[in-house]
């Protein structure tokens, strides 16, 4: 892609993001009806759940690009894997912060070891480990392939974690967890927020990806400098 087209894409994504986020905020805070039992608190849901879904999408992106990297050995896929892992952690941080804030007034506890909470937490830990691996390898080639291997393992592990915890914890039921279906009147706000979060994800992914290509460029320049000496 040429520089000009890149620039246009940036502007386009920025506008989309701004419009989408404003609309989503409006829908979530004002547009959607107030929930009967929880009141306005339920509005946290509109940002909490889309953040979780987007985080999962980010980890899935990491998995796919790790796999493609292992097959093709193209560094661009490694950059994409890194960018999406970092964003996945960011979105899950949002989930893990807003979750307790919602739970405190509704469940009267900040945290409970229910399947969803535990699994999200573990998922976050898995990808923090992924970032740590990246941090502790010097050689960029090896860093890329080793972290790709771990990316594959982490994503395959996630459903196993989920099923084990779910089955294990179901012995001690956590009744407040399942809310049932979403009321139709709340769906527009939910989908608006989901859309806004996905745009946010794409926007950040692009920014982070470009950052990584810049870093590779620096590495290339350094290499050239080394050769001249």
């Amino acid at each position: 892609m040429s520089g000009k087209a890149q620039y246009r894409l940036d502007i386009l994504l920025g506008i989309l993001l701004f419009a989408g986020m404003s609309f989503a905020l409006y829908m979530a805070l004002i547009g959607a009806p107030t929930e009967r039992t929880m009141g306005d608190l339920q509005r946290i849901f509109y940002f909490h759940v889309p953040a979780a879904i987007t985080g999962l999408a980010a980890f899935a992106t990491n998995f796919v690009s790790s796999l493609v990297f292992l097959l093709r050995k193209n560094r661009r896929w490694d950059a994409l894997a890194l960018a999406s892992a970092e964003l996945g952690i960011l979105f899950f941080c949002m989930v893990l912060v807003t979750g307790p804030i919602w739970a405190k007034p509704v469940w009267f506890v900040w945290w409970t070891w229910s399947p969803r909470l535990t699994a999200s937490f573990i998922l976050c830990l898995l990808y923090v480990a992924y970032m740590l691996i990246r941090k502790s390898y010097e050689d960029p080639e090896r860093k890329a392939s080793v972290s790709a291997v771990f990316g594959v393992i982490a994503f395959v592990d996630a459903p196993l974690v989920w099923f084990s915890i779910r089955w294990w914890r179901d012995i001690h039921p956590s009744p407040m967890l399942e809310t049932g279906g979403l009321d139709p009147s709340m769906r527009p706000a939910f989908y608006a927020c989901l859309g806004a979060f996905l745009i946010l994800f794409l926007y950040l992914l692009r920014r982070r990806f470009c950052l990584e290509t810049m870093r590779n460029k620096v590495d290339g320049l350094l290499l050239r400098l080394d050769e001249m000496r």
């Binding site: 292992l70 573990i122 830990l125 898995l126 923090v128 480990a129 740590l132 691996i133 502790s136 390898y137 010097e138 090896r142 392939s145 080793v146 790709a148 291997v149 771990f150 594959v152 393992i153 982490a154 395959v156 592990d157 196993l160 974690v161 099923f163 084990s164 915890i165 089955w167 294990w168």
Partner: protein
């Protein structure tokens, strides 16, 4: 097949000559058991229901110690290069190493289990074959991932620090199911309920052994 066996035997020979990591694993496991004995001191009646968790925490910690040494030994002696040059594919190296670490862990587990019986005043008789089955399946799963992650960790700056950070989140399904299965055996004797945790653990083992077997060369490549 005989290549896997050769690597397995080599590791056993080294270990039985030096006894470095086995001693460390055993000692650390026992320390963990003792510490838990103090931590749980106040709930004497409920101790039997706490034992499965305590046991597997001890197994996991001592196993991590063993996994840390698994490739560090090769690295320190400059044998990692040699290991990569043997005329076998990397998958064979992985399987040999995995079997070796599984073997050491099982030895440590046997001793630790007996120690736990004494320290927590338990009596078991008919449960033993079932417990052995759970220990073997759980340990296979633990080392299936652990061997690969140990190979990842050995080439990093952080090494011993990095391994548990990667290992414990990944290994969680094994720990949960192993604790659950041990609990069923010790506290409810409803052996039919063992099917689910054993299935999950076996599935975990097969999935991760396959992935590791295929991807091992990407971890240890030059």
């Amino acid at each position: 097949m005989h290549k896997i066996w050769a690597i397995f035997r080599k590791d056993l020979l080294i270990e039985f000559r030096t006894k470095d990591s086995l001693t460390a694993m055993l000692f650390f496991g026992i320390v963990v058991l003792v510490v838990f004995n103090f931590a749980l001191g106040s709930l004497h009646q409920a101790v039997r229901s706490a034992v499965p968790g305590v046991l597997w925490v001890a197994f996991a910690f001592s196993g991590t110690l063993g996994l840390n040494r698994l490739f560090a030994v090769e690295k320190e002696n400059g044998c990692l290069q040699g290991l990569l040059m043997i005329p076998a594919d990397r998958g064979a190296v992985y399987l040999g190493k995995m079997l070796a670490s599984c073997f050491f862990m099982l030895i440590a587990e046997a001793v630790l289990f007996i120690a736990a019986l004494v320290l927590f005043n338990l009596t078991v008789r008919n449960e033993i074959p079932w417990l052995m089955l759970v220990f073997v399946v759980g340990t296979l799963g633990f080392t299936a991932v652990g061997t690969l992650l140990s190979a990842i960790a050995v080439n990093t700056r952080l090494r011993e620090v990095l391994l548990p950070l990667m290992l414990f989140p990944v290994i969680l399904p094994i720990l949960i199911n192993a604790v659950e299965a041990t609990d069923i055996i010790l506290n409810s004797a409803d052996y039919g309920a063992l099917k689910l945790p054993l299935t999950v653990m076996s599935a975990f083992t097969i999935i991760f052994a396959t992935i590791s077997y295929l991807l091992f060369e990407r971890v240890l490549e030059e």
